[in-house]
Symmetry: none
Subunit: 221 residues, 4 copies
DNA sequence: GATGAATGAGGATTCATTCAT
DNA sequence: AATGAATGAATCCTCATTCAT
């Protein structure tokens, strides 16, 4: 009802470059709709989220969705792309920071854990595993995961080249890292909120950094 | 591939204690049906797997499924429980072997990676993430995951008590370990089949063992 | 017969208080749907009336029924309640008329016989016996019968108190009365239509009034 | 399980003339099966009584029913005919007794009320109203009702001819009588069991006799 | 005589999508 | 822009019936 209290999961300001008010209003509407969609899908999964339910959450009629999106798949695809884009942006900021590969990888892990477990829990859940998506959407998810992986891959590679990391196989290390990041915070999400959360995040980070740091030296997160 | 021979994913010999031929035949039938079910669900997910499709794969009429199971949910629940039970048994064997916690954890990882990526790829995929299951089934999956986690938890704890492992937080370490195991082999499954597969499995194992081994000593998988 | 004109069995004007046109249109649609439902159920019984058949009679797709009612049971329950409510209203009018209990009971009988055998044959058939309804609906039927019985009970009781009626047991008398009313006109419906019908109705009424009138005085219907 | 404790509703000894033991055994089996069928149908109605349920009550497999009857309809038809035949026989005995038409009609009512409400409650419920039976079976029910009605019709007619009864219309009187008999005991069945039951039966009988007795004389039940 | 297995026909229900207003 | 109405397609499930053993 109160459009103002839309829980913008990833605070997307998608079309801030829109010129006139019309377009800006429409952009905000689209953003809100995707936000609600992410919410519902995240709670119930794709197949158990009916358009009726999504529409109701939007306080809009089901038919009206078709004024903005071509259908359920289009709505969800757009939502996923928007989510992925936001996450991607956040991670890229972390990866682009100054510092050694070690510092930057640790920062990446912190950022990702925070996103998954604190800032955008629902969003993250959408990308964890490509199980049960309709084929067309699965492709979108896969692409997002590839983009997402690339950021980590690059930093890890830099670290290896720089001699800071020591891994048997870069790809295996990266996937173990990602697998760990995906699973840990999901089950820890209740403990990551308050002040003590910061400590836990550091525990997670240092634990996962073990996967790449040379095993004979102490971990420097 | 060979539709005629039942692809017993987890080579379940469920009711070998059945006395008469009737019961044994029925037990085998049930086992076959669950095997096909695991296959189809694993490929398409719960919601996109229609009973029609499952029935056809079983070379049986849809109505016939109801002679053996109470409905779709019951069929899938039974299948999941059977799969979980088999995996559980395999892991328990690995965990119960002689050897130091280090050796046993490494053995656990090897076993799990093999199951996930070589022996029972389809089975494993069923348990990775509880995203889109109907509530009743989600509970089953969750329970299986708890049982599964307990085996790792125990060995890790023993290792810590024995002074062989050194972790900031046992639970975080365990989850990172499980997350890594779940993710890595799924994407590596094509490379884990042949002889070189053994090498990769060892790479994965040694990589993941880093998560618990004391960081100042070289890894001994 | 004339599919185009809705055969409003009980001329229900259910929501005449609806304010805007939207609501009035919807109310009329609901009323029509219930009317057709009463017809089909009355002809075939609950279990042999498929939603397909009902929908076709409504000249509507089966799925469309679900826009107005939650399902078959809801549709039928609503229909029964609407029917019962109409009958109840008609009887209450008859019971509330001026006159001695004798006159009012006779009027009740006439009204009921007319409803059952002339005006709302199909409607009446729905309430005669709760034999084959699904439990949830059986409850509705039972409630309607209780309401229905109360009207007769009250008038009979007044008659007894006033000394006009003389019965061994009020409840037995009332049930005999209702049983007679329910059965007689159903088999006489072909003879109750024309002018001679009025005579038959009076025969029925005077016959049934015997059940309560003092046996030493002539019946005065 | 205990075949001996079959609740033979109408104590049918259908084929007592069977010569050899084989046939007698088969006859008893058929009788038992029909008895259970009457029970289940009476409880749930025709459509909600699945063959599975009936078979289970018989402690027999569903398929076995087909060794004795051609199908569900045949089973139910046979059951209904057997029930009707038993009731018919009982009523005929009552109608054939010595005595005036008044006495015999009263005896008929007593017998019928007893059957409906005490001796064969389930059986009676099957015949009350032809609602919801499949067409083929409805015909059987109708025929039974016609046979049933004939007994009452004859006695009433004799009473009228003899000058004992005084009715406006014989048929109307008879139907009112039957309607009353059908309805009253169903709701009174809990009160008709013990000693006080006899009193109630007399109340019912005297109440219903009013429908035919001359209105200026006291009722003599 | 008895039964487990198998099935076709049919029914209720859901849902994404279209369209007139 | 917004929506109520309508629907075809798909899905789960039931059940009377047949048949091989």
């Amino acid at each position: 009802m109160a459009e103002s209290s839309v829980p913008t999961l990833w605070s997307g300001a998608p079309d801030s470059t829109s010129v006139n008010r019309q377009q800006r209003r429409r952009g905000r509407k689209l953003s809100d709709m995707m936000s609600y969609t992410a919410q519902v899908i995240s709670e119930n999964g794709y197949h158990m989220a009916s358009l009726d339910e999504i529409a109701e959450r939007m306080d809009l009629s089901k038919a009206s969705i078709y004024h903005y999106f071509d259908g359920k798949e289009a709505l969800v695809t757009a939502t996923l792309e928007s989510c992925a884009s936001y996450v991607q942006q956040r991670l890229q900021e972390a990866a682009a920071s100054d510092g050694t590969p070690t510092e930057r990888l640790a920062q990446l892990i912190r950022t990702q854990v925070n996103l998954i477990a604190v800032e955008a829990v629902e969003v993250a859940r959408l990308f964890v595993q490509p199980l049960d998506w309709p084929p067309a959407i699965a492709e979108t998810v896969l692409q997002a995961q590839r983009d997402h992986g690339k950021i980590f891959r690059d930093v890890i590679h830099e670290g290896v080249v720089a001699g800071e990391f020591q891994v048997a196989d870069e790809r295996i290390a990266r996937m173990a890292l990602q697998g760990g990041m995906n699973l840990v915070p999901t089950w820890y999400s209740d403990k990551l909120g308050g002040k003590r959360g910061a400590v836990v995040v550091e525990d997670i980070t240092s634990t996962l950094m073990r996967l790449v740091l040379p095993i004979t030296s102490p971990i420097q997160a």
